[in-house]
Symmetry: C2
Subunit: 416 residues, 2 copies
């Protein structure tokens, strides 16, 4: 037990010591040299075409057309089923992506560097709300937007970020927590703060006023723009906490729409999976539970570092948005998550809780013992390909992941 406490203390220390800085935006093939044409990285633990859910398949076919690897969606589907694409998890390449989480060679990726440890993490640019590829959208509008991100916004962000020397993210998130964001389903504060920091650099480095206007307008209209910054931020600070012998702390939670997977520090890069659950939430007009795809996306990496559902107390307004009860009960979610976390983050605090830090470092032993599953705030995709987002809600990480992980963890500790 002493060994586990010490190992967990080291894991938490590394997570809290992270110094994530948004430093660049570059094409995926430059960020991840192992990423080759025909390869498609996706959210969650490994999954083959046959077991992929509707929106994941929708995104796969869409991204194949966007990349020019298929003439149309039907052709893309045939090629996907015929084994012509190689599927791997984002997490295996230092990347993350919300919902379907498509990452392919020519997409621009935001780069977060953890300056305390020197590692980097990557994420594509957030596309906005509604019919978008991360929710399974794949029509001409969706692909056209991806092309614009590649040709105009991505390069502009890269120029601006390099010119200004990057944006330290810890302070942005600390402010966001005092402004009603939990950084998963509510990112309006951090998105606005980020634009405020970026705008002068974009003005300085974007030669064309029309391009600048389009970039400022696109970022400014997207309340979730920061989600795709917060995710690689979280990935960049959890990665150095991986592989610490004897540590029972979760280093990743992720879903591919079919399975939920977790990784634990002491068991290295192994995934412990279970079928994903269905989010409970609120639906956009015209949609309901029958339309919903089960839980999906790498975005639960933010809960892994104490944000999202763990920081619900900071964001009373998100409680109603995700249909989780009265706004005044936001604090209860954070208190409950405190039961399964080994510590709190003294730099990320919640004013309404008199500046208590967000619960950080999920201990699989506590989850199994208390049967309290991590609460994740999430978007809800339509279960069919090509439709898009239909709502937002709250979902539980399946306890079976933690139970399986605990068995394997016990084996590493020499317990049968």
């Amino acid at each position: 037990m002493r060994k586990i406490e010490e190992a967990n203390a080291e894991t938490l220390k590394r997570m809290l010591a992270g110094d994530p800085v948004l430093v660049d935006c570059i094409p995926a093939h430059e960020a991840i040299p192992a990423l080759k044409p025909g390869m498609i990285l996706h959210a969650g633990p490994p999954v083959e075409w046959e077991r992929m859910c509707g929106p994941m398949r929708g995104a796969i076919t869409g991204i194949a057309v966007y990349q020019g690897w298929a003439s149309d969606l039907t052709d893309a589907e045939k090629k996907a089923a015929g084994g012509q694409f190689r599927f791997e998890p984002n997490h295996h390449h230092g990347a993350v992506g919300p919902m379907t989480g498509m990452t392919t060679v020519s997409q621009p990726l935001l780069v977060v560097e953890n300056r305390a440890f020197g590692n980097r993490a990557y994420c594509a640019i957030n596309e906005g709300l509604g019919k978008v590829m991360r929710f399974g959208g794949n029509d001409a509008e969706v692909l056209g937007r991806l092309a614009w991100l590649r040709d105009e916004l991505g390069p502009a962000l890269g120029r601006g970020l390099r010119d200004m020397g990057g944006i330290p993210l810890k302070a942005v998130i600390a402010r966001g927590l005092s402004m009603g964001d939990e950084m998963h389903q509510r990112n309006i504060a951090c998105s606005s703060l980020l634009l405020r920091l970026l705008a002068p650099a974009l003005a300085r480095t974007t030669g064309d006023a029309k391009v600048l206007e389009r970039c400022l307008d696109f970022i400014g209209r997207n309340d979730q723009f920061f989600l795709n910054v917060g995710m690689p931020m979280a990935k960049s600070i959890t990665d150095p906490a991986r592989g610490i012998a004897g540590s029972s702390i979760v280093t990743a939670m992720s879903r591919n729409g079919t399975e939920f997977g977790i990784r634990v520090s002491g068991t290295g890069d192994r995934w412990f999976t279970a079928p994903v659950e269905m989010p409970v939430g609120l639906y956009f007009p015209g949609f309901g539970e029958k339309d919903a795809n089960p839980d999906m996306g790498d975005s639960a990496i933010v809960e892994t570092v104490g944000l999202g559902g763990f920081a619900m107390a900071a964001a009373p307004a998100v409680v109603g948005f995700v249909g989780a009860g009265p706004a005044s009960e936001a604090a209860n979610f954070t208190r409950l998550m405190g039961e399964i976390a080994v510590g709190t983050n003294p730099e990320w605090t919640i004013p309404s809780l008199d500046y208590a830090g967000v619960p950080t470092g999920i201990d699989i032993r506590r989850v199994v013992e208390t049967q309290i599953a991590p609460t994740i705030n999430t978007g809800i995709a339509h279960r069919k390909p090509g439709v898009g987002q239909v709502g937002a809600g709250v979902v539980k990480a399946p306890l079976a992941c933690f139970e399986n992980a605990l068995v394997a963890f016990a084996e590493t500790m020499g317990v049968a």
Copy 2:
């Protein structure tokens, strides 16, 4: 009594029906034709040079030099004492200004139009924090910044706002309340949201990239930028509520650093004054109570419409900043202000109170009956001219203003 209730219902109805839109930024002499060279508008009820506090005198001498009406501060002081400038309250000209509240011919003024009633209200551009004229600063750095606001930022804001057709403010404030702003001592959310809305228009209408960069940078570094938008917004929605016979609702609260003044709808434009109180708060390093000037500024107009101290529950982080106790007690301030308000604003709600509206419409009868004084969140100026801001705190409106107003109000109702 029935007549008063009906009159108060009409007053509240007009305040809630306001549709304030930030439409322009223009030179003060265009906004206020009655404003002539040699005239200096100031915060609060009327006050002559002899009774002006230190920072007010500091600002007067500074603005006289800025306008070219004096060769230096000493010359300006001599001229001010010699009666060569004409002093009038901002409120007498449809304007407001935070702290000392200087308004003179060549300063650029933000213009808020209340589209439901057609009236306009004006306020100078916020200068940022620290040594600034609104806190009595008057050196070359302060005057240079004012010149830049006049020559570069003001015209750029005007071009951008006109081009985009203005920014409706009610929705911005509603979002700000869900993002931890109370719109008096905490404006970071609304300042960021405003920049987000403005930036594309500024990019479209500012020809010079260097100018654009400076404007975006200046707005982006100033967490209180929105204060000077929220104030004329509040003025624009209280002005149509003035002069309703039989209404006991406060239409303005304002301080000149010497006296606190209120106006009541049923007693028209008459000021009811009492000596200002000293804020209780927190001081910047190196300063303390002995340095503090008493309460000052037109900014209490935001409390008049239910923001600032009345909306404290929305902004737990401001409670610590103004030294008003534990952040978790923010809701108590809002609940207490509910005791002296005739209604709530259904469009400006506070998530953590399960979307209760901010208390709106201060009834002088309730203030006198309960002896609960309006709570105002405020900045604290150094009592000497030329120093600047030394802290932030909470101050009470003096009960004597309300007692005097009630006597006069009773007379209008035929009660001896």
